[in-house]
């Protein structure tokens, strides 16, 4: 059944399909090493669910490398009224099973659980002021996303598709064991499924999965590109640190906020009409195009996209007038605090619904930080001067449609299971 399909392509397809049959097929195909189980003593695990960077791989330049395979489970709490302590304990047992089953690393399993404003509305008390969680909304004059209001999002990530699928089977299927560890409790009695989204990121994976709507039949995605648009992202110096995105005080200290958008990509013009000069200018900055700073997918840039180093954010308006074009990174980098980035990208591409897509998942201390970043990225201010349009020559807005958006509080590990809005801590 798997004749002629390259291995990594097959694994991605299996993750997208899901289920026990996909898992079985995936296990046969993917060269998953014999993974050890996780620790018995879970007290050593970090307080932050989102503390992933220490256990991610790094590339030659010291950039953190995201896990290759991802699944997002959007779900609604199935109980009536606020969650019971019994449900809370069941969920925590279930999540601890995952931690015992796999090492907490990119080669094992990384996961987070986060909760929406709609979830916290179910409590009498509001969230404390130390948390800035807002209802999702449209953030550009030209976007009309559907707004996600499911209670919770479970994000599973691993370099091995078989690990992600096995975890889903343990949580939502019939599997009684997970990597040899007995599954004490699942989540299917606690939550009703709302949506399942899948994806991948890493050199070569997008090129292997470009037979989707939104990418022309000429198979233009470069073989080594980590993302559909052909360029690397997540340069260390342009990512916020985990400290920078962590909530500092109150019961949810060591938590963060998560924004998740489903973005459809339309890359026919990008690959078949636009020049390389245009792609570099609109993804990075016109200076980068003019000076030829970006080779291939941009690995030569090292650990920085050279934004502030080249004066790109500060001169966005000048560049709009002089070059007639502004870059996506250039605009976004205008949103900073104390001259450091405020958003940590953990996004990945997807073939969900047969369409070239981006699950734009970002972490930031407050949702306001995301709103500020997105406003900077809109470049509406730059579209007023003349040469730059609201979409044309204005970063990569021309090539994307935000279809859905949701905002979530990603609590610290101690409060990850059905937290109250005002937990005692």
């Amino acid at each position: 059944m798997d004749r002629g399909i390259p291995r990594r392509e097959f694994v991605k397809a299996a993750v997208a399909i899901g289920g026990s049959a996909a898992l079985a097929a995936c296990l046969q195909r993917e060269s998953t090493p014999e993974l050890p189980t996780g620790p018995d003593d879970l007290s050593e695990l970090p307080a932050r669910q989102h503390a992933w960077n220490d256990v991610l791989a790094t590339d030659d330049h010291g950039n953190d490398v995201a896990p290759k395979h991802h699944v997002l489970r959007l779900m609604d709490y199935s109980g009536a009224g606020p969650p019971s302590n019994a449900d809370r304990e069941t969920m925590e047992r279930s999540l601890r099973t995952l931690e015992r089953a796999y090492p907490r690393s990119h080669e094992g399993l990384l996961f987070t659980v986060s909760y929406s404003p709609a979830y916290f509305d179910g409590f009498d008390e509001p969230l404390p002021d130390s948390v800035d969680l807002q209802e999702p909304k449209a953030l550009a004059p030209f976007e009309e996303p559907a707004l996600d209001r499911s209670d919770a999002v479970l994000h599973l990530a691993s370099d091995y598709g078989s690990v992600v699928l096995a975890v889903e089977e343990a949580l939502f299927g019939d599997a009684e064991e997970l990597n040899g560890v007995s599954v004490e409790a699942g989540l299917d009695d606690l939550f009703d499924p709302v949506d399942r989204r899948t994806g991948f990121i890493g050199d070569g994976l997008p090129a292997d999965h470009q037979d989707v709507d939104g990418i022309p039949a000429s198979k233009p995605v470069p073989d080594d590109a980590p993302m559909y648009m052909g360029f690397k992202s997540g340069f260390k110096k342009n990512q916020a640190t985990e400290d920078a995105v962590s909530i500092q005080s109150g019961p949810f200290a060591d938590g963060t906020t998560q924004q998740l958008s489903l973005i459809r990509l339309h890359l026919q013009q990008w690959y078949e009409q636009d020049s390389r000069f245009h792609r570099v200018a609109t993804m990075f900055c016109p200076v980068h195009a003019d000076d030829g700073l970006v080779e291939g997918s941009g690995d030569n840039l090292g650990d920085t996209s050279l934004m502030t180093e080249r004066g790109c954010p500060a001169h966005a308006e000048d560049h709009a007038r002089e070059y007639g074009v502004v870059g996506h990174s250039q605009k976004s980098a205008r949103a900073r605090r104390d001259d450091t980035p405020i958003m940590l990208r953990r996004d990945f591409d997807s073939t969900d619904d047969g369409k070239a897509s981006l699950h734009f998942l970002s972490l930031q201390r407050t949702i306001s930080d995301f709103v500020d970043t997105r406003e900077a990225m809109n470049g509406t201010d730059l579209a007023e001067s003349g040469p730059v349009g609201q979409r044309t020559n204005n970063g990569i807005l021309q090539y994307m449609t935000v279809e859905r958006r949701g905002n979530y509080l990603l609590p610290p590990r101690a409060l990850r299971s059905l937290p109250e809005a005002q937990p005692d801590r």
Binding site: P141, F142, E144, D213, G214, P216, A217, S218, R264, H266, Q268, Q269, E272, Q273, D274, S275, F277, H278, A281, T282, P286, A289, D290, A320, R321, E322, Y323, G324, V325, T380, A383, E384, S385, G386, P387, V388, G389, Q390, R391, T392, N393, Q398, T401
Partner: protein, 356 residues
């Protein structure tokens, strides 16, 4: 059966005869005939293209404050601009049509050239293609939003057009208008043989000469033409040329309503020669000097006004007889260009005018 499957079947099963038929049904024959080679030695100016094409009206509709028309022609090459970098967009084998969206204000017939237009083609629940058409200049089709689109075959398609809120500065009765998104839908009955009925004329005698073909006039469809110089408000102080673009400069005694500041208003109406189409998406700055020293300098902002139409302007405290107005182009017009416009409006040296 999908076209790709059809081609595969034809290639696998049959001899050369049926192969030729197969290629024809995919449109290769048509394309070679309808895409003459580029003119040799193109001047760095507006020139007569190798050919002109007819166009067909798909439909017209209301979209908020706008009227919109969808027209169709043969797929064809065009050029995109990023700064001064020009990139030719070639035809693809799968391109079926060149779709064009024209927009105008229902009240004034003014054509706003800097709108944000997106377009989605679908059949039933299936999206066939979604991409934002480029703002484009064409000698006979005027200013429009267009691109080549691939359709899987003859049939009825839904075309949904969305227009984003306008970012360009607006003055006079346009202040506060065009702020909301609008949309309009069309039903398009695509038939390749019907498309092939459209006029197609090569211009072998005149191609490559400096000049432009006449605008094609369609009933009900206003052309995006700017006023003749003597039809512009204010005192026209002169006309300058750069990169074959025409810059008509006028001075109004009062700033346009809706603008901050008071004093005179310097308006530059930048247009194509011959057909007077606007040159949008450009950056322009002015320096006014008197007796060798600068009186005022700064950017001229793209502005849409019911009387001046699309122009670049700024409040300029006082402009007197004997002053010199220097105009400097930063980025040249970033609108996409059809053949005959791609070599003009790229290198655009500064201009200078003496105020009479």
């Amino acid at each position: 059966m999908k076209r790709r499957t059809l081609l595969k079947g034809g290639a696998g099963l049959a001899g050369l005869g049926s192969m030729a038929g197969c290629l024809a049904s995919l449109g290769f024959e048509r394309r070679s005939a309808r895409s003459p080679p580029l003119v040799e030695n193109r001047p760095d100016a507006v020139y007569i293209p190798s050919h002109i094409e007819g166009m067909q009206m798909v439909g017209m509709g209301k979209a908020g404050p706008y009227r919109a028309a969808l027209t169709v022609s043969f797929p064809h090459r065009f050029w995109l601009m990023t700064g001064r970098n020009r990139e030719m967009v070639e035809l693809r084998a799968e391109d079926s049509v060149h779709l064009m969206v024209s927009l105008w204000d229902a009240e004034t017939q003014v054509v706003p050239p800097t709108s944000d237009v997106t377009l989605e083609i679908s059949q039933g629940d299936e999206t066939v293609v979604q991409k934002a058409p480029w703002p484009m200049l064409s000698q006979n089709m005027g200013f429009h939003f267009g691109d080549n689109y691939a359709l899987p075959g003859d049939g009825t398609y839904s075309v949904s057009v969305k227009i984003g809120p306008m970012q360009t500065r607006r003055t006079g009765s346009f202040a506060g208008r065009f702020d909301d998104p609008a949309s309009v839908g069309f039903s398009y009955e695509y038939s390749r043989s019907a498309l092939n009925e459209l006029a197609f004329e090569t211009l072998d005698e005149t191609k490559g000469n400096e000049g432009a073909v006449e605008p094609m006039r369609m009933e009900m469809l206003p052309l995006a033409q700017l006023p003749e110089p003597d039809g512009l408000p204010g005192r026209v102080i002169g006309e300058a040329t750069s990169g074959d673009g025409r810059f008509v400069v006028s001075v109004l005694d009062e700033a346009l309503p809706g603008l901050d500041g008071s004093g005179q208003y310097l308006a530059v109406s930048a247009r194509t020669p011959y057909n007077r189409y606007p040159l949008p998406f450009m950056s322009l700055a002015s320096t006014i000097s008197r007796d060798g020293s600068t009186v005022v300098e700064g950017p001229l902002k793209a502005t849409l006004d019911p009387d001046l139409n699309y122009h670049y302007g700024a409040v300029a405290d006082d402009i007197s007889s004997g002053d010199t107005v220097e105009l400097e182009v930063g980025a040249p017009p970033q609108a996409a260009r059809h053949e005959g416009y791609e070599t003009a409006f790229v290198e655009m040296p500064s201009m200078s005018l003496d105020v009479p």
